[in-house]
Amino acid sequence: MDLWDFLEYAAWAASALFGLFIVIDWIKTDSTYSEEFLTSSREGELEALTEEQHHRG
């Protein structure tokens, strides 16, 4: 066992951690918000949204 063998294990572990973060957050997000809200983005709507938020202060 040299440094590279440990790095192999570390790479497996880090990959699993990143994957786990993504999956947990994905499940949490999908169960917290409604589907209409999550898919409410509309092309060309951002300028309007920015304006609206700006006015609400």
Binding site: L3, E8, W12, A14, T29, L38, T39, S41, E43, L46
Partner: protein, 464 residues
């Protein structure tokens, strides 16, 4: 999060500037200078690779100019997909969307394979015996960059800006150190490129070199995918894209100059990491370490930009119901197309772990080439339907329609060059796009959100 809910809708965040656009475009491409371009040398010798570099440079200058004009008026995620939707029609848009996703996902897979190869090379150089399992490093590259993309576009492209700038600076330093400006130059162009080595396969070799000549610039058109996330699209997108193509033309020429002056064409044409090899041949440990880091950073920047671009194209298609609407979701906190990012991770992993790199690269090049062939048609129709006086553009490209015709001609030549080496893949790829086009026309189009897909406040097109 509460703010997002108050508005009752959520969209991508406009947080990027011109430097991020530059980092996205150059970041995707610069890896092509570190590896891949040199297969053009194998096809026709060093002079042929230089000619391919410049012809491809003309092709991509046309791409960048045309793209800058159209995208400065169509400021939405999806880039060329959204352009095609507004200017040509749904079937073209569907195909262009798929070209984009394939080109970027395949390129991401190729980059991840390269990360594994690089780590293995470093392990061998440092005395590791028994070989290294490359898979965990390939998977880590994809998972880390997917996580970064998931967490937000600003951090993702700021990361790209830093590592791309370091990789570009490394090329400049290598050139300065070997050019003879400060010390005696080790470059031997005269000896390495004279006699039969000048053009070993004649002019046919120059034609064949065009296939890999694209590698110097492939992906710069990806800047348009940031259209919905830049603060000032009409200014930032043309600026970032055109500055990117100039950066790449400089990097490509310097790369060719240094590498062809240090290595005979027979070796250079097959080298896995030519710039790293050039640094090793220079005899400087500092340059070797610098170019090693540059190679790794260029590879990561490319994969990172590819995840960003492929996910935006997939997301835009989902939002318009060209694909299931589920993919059109935006993360309320991170403001990223998170489901599109997640969906493309296993696809990249399958290709990175299961397919040979030359096949993966060829599929990426072919999808890119199909996309470039669409662009001349796109700009000709755009100018015809909406002449200059009808819509205000952020950038107007010069000499229209000359760049469109030059681009079309160069695409035709490159298709022939690809056919010479990878005819079967070319036919298979076109057959695939015909089949999915039929599926879209006869089945999927009924689900498309037809009323909401034309969003630009343009006047009625001329002639309609």
């Amino acid at each position: 999060m509460a703010n997002a809910q108050q508005t009752e809708h959520v969209g991508l965040a406009r947080v990027l500037g011109p430097a991020h656009v530059w980092a996205l475009g150059v970041g995707i491409v610069l890896v092509g200078e570190y590896m891949g371009w040199n297969f053009a040398v194998g096809k026709g010798g060093a002079y042929a690779a230089l000619m391919a570099c410049w012809f491809a440079g003309i092709l991509y200058t046309c791409v960048a100019m045309i793209d800058s004009e159209v995208t400065s008026t169509v400021a939405a995620a999806g880039g060329q997909y959204t352009q095609a939707k507004h200017i040509v029609g749904p079937l073209m848009a569907f195909n262009v969307g798929l070209y984009l996703v394939f080109a970027y996902t395949m390129l991401e897979a190729a980059n991840a394979i390269t990360v594994g190869f690089l780590v293995d090379t470093v392990a061998t150089m440092t005395g590791h015996e028994g070989g290294l399992d490359q898979r965990p490093f390939i998977i880590l590259a994809i998972m880390f960059l997917a996580w970064l993309n998931y967490r937000g576009v600003l951090a993702t492209l700021t990361f790209n800006l830093v590592i791309t700038a370091i990789a570009f600076t490394a090329v400049i330093i290598l050139f300065l150190a070997t050019s003879g400006i400060f010390t005696t130059s080790p470059l031997q162009h005269k000896d390495l490129m004279s006699g039969p080595a000048a053009l070993p396969y004649g002019w046919l070799g120059v034609l064949a070199a065009m296939h890999f000549g694209l590698w110097y610039y492939l992906g710069i058109e990806g800047t348009t995918q940031a259209a919905e996330e830049v603060r000032s699209p009409a200014r930032s997108l043309p600026f970032g894209t055109l500055a990117g193509v100039m950066t790449l033309a400089i990097a490509a020429t310097l790369t060719w100059y240094v590498s062809s002056g240090l290595m005979p064409w027979e070796y250079l044409g097959q080298a896995g990491v030519p710039l790293f090899d050039a640094a090793r041949l220079s005899g400087s440990t500092f340059l070797m370490v610098l170019l090693g880091i540059g190679t790794l950073f260029a590879t990561l920047a490319s994969a990172n930009g590819c995840i960003n671009d492929a996910s935006r194209a997939w997301f835009a298609m989902g939002r318009d119901r060209y694909l299931p609407g589920w993919f059109g979701a935006v993360h309320p906190r991170y403001r990223t197309p998170y489901r599109a990012i997640i969906f493309l991770v296993p696809i990249a992993l399958i290709f990175a772990l299961g397919a040979p790199i030359d096949q993966v690269i060829t599929f990426s090049i072919l999808s890119g080439l199909l996309e470039y062939t669409f662009m001349p048609l796109n700009i000709i129709l755009f100018r015809k339907k909406w002449p200059l006086e009808s819509i205000k553009r952020g950038y107007e490209h010069p000499f229209h329609p000359l760049p469109a015709y030059v681009l079309l001609g160069l695409c035709g030549i490159t298709f022939f060059a690809v056919f010479l080496g990878y005819g079967t893949q070319l036919v298979a790829m076109i057959a695939f796009y015909i089949v999915v086009s039929l599926w879209f026309h006869f089945w999927r189009y009924r689900f498309v959100n037809r009323g909401a897909q034309f969003t630009m406040p343009w006047p009625k097109p001329r002639g309609y």
